[in-house]
């Protein structure tokens, strides 16, 4: 390719989007509890599935999940990934572990960090518990939990993690 056909240098470009996020009643209720250090899910009155964080309805039954279910901050690792590549703007230094955490009595999992363990020791079914920030730092955010750390309990049988039949 001759010089006059050579591609130009790379140009800076950007995408910028601004939102006003409204949490809705289910997430608002959930985050108000999180601010007090409590994890409260919602269960479906029909199929009994427990959702945390709750979204206000059961996607399987298509009905409102009005029943509140207080949950423990203990659970197990349902799935995980080791992140080796730094993400711009993310203060966490790789390698670190993102895991889907299934709280006891809950039927779905949510994404959080797992720390206080060697990365090669992490496994599906491992028992973990939330490590909370100091109480005076609590806000309306799951970041009130710094991460989940392993606890000295036997691993969970993975087959029990299946979504319960309706």
């Amino acid at each position: 390719m001759s010089d006059d056909q050579a591609p130009k240098d790379y140009k800076e470009s950007f995408i910028h989007l601004e939102y006003q996020y409204t949490a809705g009643s289910a997430t608002t209720t959930f985050l108000n509890q999180v601010k007090e250090g409590r994890l409260v899910g919602q269960s479906c009155p029909k199929c009994k599935a427990v959702y945390v964080p709750p979204r206000g309805s059961c996607p399987r039954c298509g009905i409102a999940t009005s029943i509140e279910v207080p949950l423990t901050d203990k659970g197990c690792v349902e799935s995980f990934t080791v992140v080796h590549i730094p993400i711009p703007g993310n203060p966490i230094v790789p390698p670190y572990v993102c895991a889907m955490i299934r709280l006891d009595e809950a039927d779905i999992s949510f994404l959080h960090l797992v720390q206080d363990i060697e990365i090669d020791q992490i496994r599906i079914g491992m028992r973990v518990q939330a490590v909370w920030k100091p109480k005076d730092e609590w806000t309306h955010s799951l970041e009130n939990i710094k991460w989940f750390a392993p606890i000295d309990e036997p691993d969970v049988d993975v087959s029990t993690l299946r979504f319960k039949p309706s």
């Binding site: 950007f14 995408i15 939102y19 006003q20 949490a23 608002t28 209720t29 309306h140």
Partner: protein, 149 residues
Amino acid sequence: MNDSKINLLEAPFELSYKYKRSSGPIMSKFFEGLSQKKIFGTKSKAQKVFAPAAEYDPDTREALTEIVEVGPGGTIESWSWVNSPRSHHLLKTPFAFALIKLDGADTAMLHMVSDCDESDLSTGKKVLPVWSENPTEAITDINYFILES
């Protein structure tokens, strides 16, 4: 607390991605042209002229390399009036987004038509570009198009 009386949580949320892109050999010519107040298209073997310049003919998959100058005037093929520009729009007064078929081209280019009233616009009207005095080799080197008087 009654669920329906709950004060819903709200928060502003901003999502930004900054990245670098190369426009490639063909589009580079197009953007470079804009900074010199020229609009370039590409011509296929079948003499079809694409403007803005296309890298490939979408019908035949032919790689397009012949650069041709088009415009600078053109014809409104279609338009949509923006009566209340929002913060992210480039123009702060009412304008139209328009598909403009530049003179000598067979395809239309999306840009803006301003300095007119909604009632002045119709398909088939001739337009001319208003060039930026501070070109940056970007589509914004054309500020907008105006109706040909």
